[in-house]
Symmetry: C2
Subunit: 493 residues, 2 copies
């Protein structure tokens, strides 16, 4: 692709524009010809593959297996669980016909009116209904439980206002759907997966998250409890990065899924569902990146190290390339992914800017002088600092450095969040702080009315009732009624 | 899932029923509530994941990267490439609306007539059109080429008669879409990917394949040449297991994708596409399995070894389990995947039948006597033979055995194919041989008329013009006209 050094809008100038610029210019994704549907470009997809692979490993380590269920859901399924259809099923892609034919009036094709489906099909916005309709045949006795299944899939929700990765009509995700013999086990599973998500966010994405429970008005449609992880972006807005739902027996009842327990009694099955999506890409981008471009945590970078040769002629390049080949071998032996960019039609300066934009954690540069001295230049993307080090032992040095970068990126995000999290006791103070962005911890009386009032007046929502931290009771900042503990408010994506 | 020892229909009795029974009873897949769409169950999906992972590695080794394009295609895109729309676009799922609403007459939801799309969207039956519409913006100059992109995705073709894995309305696949500056390079890519498919089929699936070119009437709609790999199933029918298309400049012209070449001249881009799908699962199942169930090649088996303890009481189980833990560790250290089935609510005989049905390559059984003697029973799934060997050195023994099984399964399929491939010179002989099944090599005059006549009279199609083997010219068995070389006929899935 023809590229120039690409200028980004700065974050302070226009954060939203900076994000859009970055997604496009770092070749992560772009809008497609289909309203609200994105094209995930190879570099963006490579990051998503890293996310997928790691999460998939973590799901399997916790006993889950993958399966695949149909893309389409019969329309009638959606109305079987009352809350689910209320909260969910409205904005979606509806398949009504199954054939095109040549346009009798000329060129092109038209929908064949004779190929109308008896019952319309919905492109899955989520798969609880089709999966629970399937589970009915899989579950007869307690011996068939638990079912611990995950699916990697595309889903469609007809969003009116879309933004690359953050909110798109079609997106990629995984959805876990588990079935259990007891309520306790289902709740345990719900919380276990919340912790898996939190661990992944913190240890791999380097994004600190608050674990909590959603208020009833923010729950998943059809859930008894929705657990979530909430992250704070650099503009002070919160982003929900993953949810895990305790569904009780709602879907089992809607689809009549019963089992014989150990005592021979028929019971409805207990269930959970949990998911994260390509939205995580948005969280990753907005948590760490700067005005020069992406900053990727080493654990999710498509390549962790890029090596750029600086040479005057073919001979010089050949000599450097020979040395680089040896270094590359050493790096790969330690499990470090590395790209050697010896393209001759681009100047080193162009390459430096390009890899900075693309967030490659470490850039190595080797010139003729380095070759003589047995040195190499090491540039860190996270701190934008440079140093010259000995080629001797470079692989071990890189391994430590990448670990250090991973930690540093997390710490930076952690510090930012700490600096932008405040506790307030009055509504006036709340309004002032919310205006500045960040997480605001405040007391709430537990009613949807107060929640709604605050949302209307300040655009802030309750992100969650946190599972960890201060649980001292108090009084609601608006109504003065008793509050069990502080909850987390923020304006959110 | 509640299970009994499951009886399969035998292959000789009813091959088609045997296949259906096997897919269901080995827990590979089942039909869903949505016409023609299957549910891929965890055991079936685990095999598909192995296929995916290996192919993905091979694509990346040959320089390809993954990306993701929209599920939906604007209806007008389908008519841009004339042959493509003729051959393809008719039987597909059409999205006409984007919203449901509560049924004003009572319960449930109905399609909101006010939410009609201006232009209908087609659920992708294949992605050439949406991808080439995207490539137009990615390609300006020869420096932007080649583009070597692959996509893992679901696609929908509204098939009227469906069979699990072999022909389903929705299926999973990968589709490579590459863009090149020259015709030669595009043809080279087309053939390279054909070889990747053939290597995968033979070395991983243990399925021998014939590599060849499709006749014009069997070409992909929009291709100049379609290359394919063809496998022979145990009932004597052929199965097309993968295709690689040289698309010329057809899609570049349809979507106006031009580039400036090194001389500064504008040219249309050359392209290829290539794909394999969950249909490979059907090929895998039908190539090797027997009347006792699945036979899986070790390289694609979800677990290669299962260990079953045979014990009288808890103490006995504990002693065996301790020994098995050590064996498991040794096996895993050699990269062998192993499952220890110590479930107490199922008898060893039940387990033996279950793992036979599921095609686990090796079953180990250890009883009290074995524990005393330092031995273990080894049962091979492919030959159904048993032997008792020393536990000492069992891991290395297993590694060799699994390699041997992989080779043996391939050899068996290879021998079967050899025994069921004949050359004929007269049409009478052809009709007789075709009736018995297998590949029939015969001379053909190269005309679609003769091809069609043979198809009508014998239900045999030309599977391909083979790339390897006998290229002696001759005369068409029907018309007596000259033939460049023998082609491969068969009845096919």
């Amino acid at each position: 692709m023809a590229k120039e050094i690409k200028e980004l809008t700065s974050r302070s100038e226009n954060y939203s524009q900076w994000y859009n610029d970055l997604v496009i210019k770092a070749d992560l994704a772009e809008n497609s010809a289909v309203r609200g549907c994105m094209v995930i470009k190879p570099y963006g997809y490579a990051i998503w593959e890293k996310i997928q692979r790691q999460l998939d490993d973590m799901f399997k380590e916790t006993g889950h297996v993958n399966a695949y269920f149909p893309l389409f859901i019969p329309k009638s399924f959606l109305s079987k669980e009352a809350d689910h259809v209320e909260g969910f099923a409205k904005e979606c892609a509806v398949v009504t016909h199954y054939r095109l034919k040549n346009d009798p009036d000329g060129k092109g094709v038209v929908v064949d009116p004779e190929a109308k489906l008896e019952e319309e099909l919905i492109v899955r916005p989520t798969s609880e209904t089709i999966i629970w309709n399937t589970y009915r045949n899989w579950i007869q006795s307690y011996r068939d439980l638990p079912i611990l299944v995950n699916q990697w899939a595309n889903v469609v929700r007809w969003e009116m206002r879309t933004r690359l990765f953050l909110r798109t009509a079609e997106f990629l995700w995984q959805e876990g759907h588990t079935a259990h013999a007891t309520k306790e086990e289902a709740i345990e599973e719900t919380i276990k997966m919340l912790h898996v998500y939190a661990d992944f966010a913190e240890q791999y994405m380097a994004v600190p998250v608050i674990k909590g429970i959603k208020t009833p008005s923010e729950r998943f449609a059809g859930a008894l409890d929705t657990y979530c992880i909430e992250a704070l972006m650099q503009d002070g807005k919160a982003l929900q990065a993953g949810t895990s739902h305790f569904l009780g027996q709602n879907f089992a009842k809607a689809f009549d899924v019963q089992f014989l327990d150990k005592e021979g009694k028929r019971e409805y099955v207990w269930s959970t569902s949990w998911g994260v999506s390509t939205r995580l890409m948005g969280a990753l981008i907005m948590s760490h990146s700067d005005d020069n471009g992406l900053v990727l945590p080493p654990k999710l970078a498509p390549y962790q190290v890029v090596i750029v040769p600086i040479y005057k002629n073919d001979e010089g390049l050949a000599a450097i390339s020979e040395k680089v080949e040896q270094i590359t071998k050493e790096l790969k032996a330690l499990g470090i992914s590395v790209k050697y960019d010896n393209a001759q039609n681009k100047k080193p300066g162009w390459k430096f800017a390009e890899y900075e934009l693309k967030g490659v954690p470490v850039r190595l540069a080797m010139g003729g002088r380095d070759l003589e001295n047995g040195t190499i230049e090491v540039a860190r993307r996270d701190t934008l600092t440079k140093e010259t080090v000995s080629v001797e032992g470079i692989a071990a040095y890189m391994k430590d450095l990448l670990e250090d970068i991973q930690k540093n990126i997390y710490q930076k995000a952690f510090d930012y969040r700490a600096q932008n999290t405040v506790s307030v006791d009055t509504y006036d103070e709340f309004k002032e702080k919310i205006e500045k962005g960040g997480f605001v911890l405040a007391h709430w009386d537990g009613t949807p009315e107060t929640e709604e009032l605050i949302k209307e007046e300040t655009k802030a929502t309750i992100r969650c009732i946190p599972l960890e931290g201060d649980t001292t009771p108090g009084v609601d900042m608006v109504t003065g009624k008793p509050s069990a503990q502080r909850v987390v408010f923020a304006r959110a994506y």
